[in-house]
């Protein structure tokens, strides 16, 4: 069963969101998503300063087999793309909630993460998808 940390928020498209102490949010893809994609060999993260809307394709994760967009779960301005993934894209597979984070954003408003799912709800979604 997929690892779903209780302290994060989730999207239907399998991104996670973590609120950081400085008011920015950190975004990545879930354990379920990395497992479904398989061995990641290239990750394209956004440039800092880029403004994104909810649902914008903002990063790209590429496995041997295919390229997949990662959609921003929040509106805001990118403060940082994870620089470590250029040389170590496999961190998204091995540590999706830690070293494998993709980007950090400063949300444009305080309620930016309100429509996201909490962990129990996301777990339920995974169970539904597994049928």
């Amino acid at each position: 069963m997929s690892n779903v940390p209780p302290d994060l928020k989730y999207t239907k498209t399998h991104e996670w969101v973590r609120n950081l102490a400085d008011g920015t949010v950190e975004i990545g893809i879930t354990d379920h998503a990395q497992h479904a994609l398989g061995d990641l060999v290239f990750v394209e993260v956004p440039e800092s300063g880029r403004a994104v809307k909810v649902g914008d394709p903002t990063a790209v994760v590429e496995s041997v087999k295919a390229a997949s967009d990662v959609y921003s779960p929040v509106a805001g301005v990118v403060t940082q793309g994870n620089p470590g993934l250029a040389s170590e894209p496999e961190a998204v597979n091995t540590d999706p909630y830690g070293k494998g984070w993709l980007m950090r954003l400063r949300p444009t408003n305080g309620t930016a993460t309100a429509e996201l799912m909490a962990a129990p709800e996301y777990l339920k979604l995974l169970q539904t998808e597994a049928g």
């Binding site: 061995d39 060999v41 290239f42 041997v64 390229a67």
Partner: protein
């Protein structure tokens, strides 16, 4: 749901992710595509290729028929068991399929054609076989396993009786023969040594488990694709199809234009073609992954990637691309609007576990 091979339930039991491939439900990977890839380059792996279609051709004039049907010349096949790779062309010189043909005896040849083209191929072969009195029989109730890698032949032989093992291990490259109730051929699609085996469907699960127990890794179509691309081998439907001819598909070496009086289907079209395009290998010199249909920018005009992937052996992205004819060294590839540098190289990229090109270093 698609068609299923005799190994489908075993693939599920082994935890494979199943995908549609040419109408068949096939395993794309079991654990990690990269691990499976390395298993074949370094040791051995087994692939289910039961979706491929073996066809027996029998008749006194079967050789003459194949000299008409195929772009390569089966007169090259003089020793029983010898195999030949060939394209089957339409009248316009377009590639209907690529296949392997085995010479078994003077009135019996065997073809193995692609799964996705099976119905079209059988109709075409039957249509042209009539006037040669050749009987066309699709073989069913068989499974096909490809056991590939430097240890593959020894591991496979370890499952056989002593005399059968000796016979199998004595097969030269690109030879096949019936050994008890298996047809064993020293062929493959990975750039490594190994066997492709046709065996009764009812035995397939037991043999797969025995191979696993002997240390042969279960490998999916994902690894098969990265292995064949590293080996510089074309995939029908990606790198060539009915709209392209062999000369612009890196397959001129498979077309026997001599002798000039062999009138194979597609010949007259090919005689009037001056190729304006060519299929080349590309090595991406920056970070990223080349994929099919990406635009290639060259000094001689635009081209397109036909197959692209990440090469687990080179740890770089490689591709086959159709580009304008002529000498080219450096090109650029449009990946999501950015032009990245790629070097034109001559495939194969990897052969028998060895890197055949200098990958260089990414800054």
């Amino acid at each position: 749901m698609g068609r299923k091979t005799p190994l489908f339930e075993l693939h599920q039991e082994l935890g494979a992710r199943i995908v549609d491939f040419g109408g068949w439900d096939m395993p794309v990977q079991y654990s990690s595509q990269i691990t499976e890839h390395h298993a074949v380059r370094r040791a051995s792996g087994v692939f289910d290729v039961s979706h491929m279609c073996p066809v027996d051709l029998k008749g006194a004039r079967v050789r003459e028929f194949l000299q008409h049907l195929l772009a390569n010349d089966v007169s090259k096949l003089q020793r029983p068991g010898k195999a030949l790779y060939s394209c089957m062309l339409n009248e316009a010189g377009g590639v209907l399929d690529d296949l392997i043909v085995y010479f078994l005896n003077d009135s019996w040849f065997r073809l193995v054609v692609n799964a996705g083209t099976r119905d079209k191929d059988l109709a075409w072969i039957r249509q042209h076989s009539a006037k040669f009195d050749v009987e066309v029989t699709e073989l069913t109730d068989l499974a096909m396993l490809a056991i590939q890698g430097p240890e593959a032949r020894m591991k496979t032989a370890s499952l056989l009786s002593a005399s059968a093992a000796d016979t199998a291990l004595a097969l030269g490259p690109f030879f096949g023969r019936q050994i008890d109730n298996w047809f064993v051929a020293r062929t493959g699609y990975t750039g490594e040594d190994g066997f492709e085996v046709m065996l009764p469907a009812a035995d397939a699960v037991r043999i797969w488990r025995e191979l696993n127990a002997a240390g042969v890794a279960s490998c999916g179509l994902g690894a098969r694709d990265t292995l064949r691309l590293e080996a510089g081998m074309n995939l029908y439907g990606n790198d060539m199809d009915e709209k392209t001819h062999p000369f612009e598909s890196g397959l001129a070496w498979t077309v026997a234009m001599q002798p000039a009086d062999r009138h194979f289907i597609g010949r007259s079209a090919l005689e009037n073609i001056t190729p304006s395009r060519q299929l080349v290998g590309l090595l991406l010199e920056e970070r990223g992954v080349l994929r099919g249909h990406q635009r290639v920018v060259t000094p001689a005009g635009a081209g397109e990637i036909t197959s692209g992937t990440f090469s687990p052996t080179l740890e770089r992205s490689i591709a086959l691309a159709r580009v304008p004819a002529g000498a080219l060294q450096q090109v650029q590839v449009d990946i999501r609007g950015k032009l990245l540098n790629a070097r034109v190289v001559k495939p194969p990229f990897v052969r028998f576990g060895k890197t055949m090109i200098e990958p260089g270093v990414i800054a």
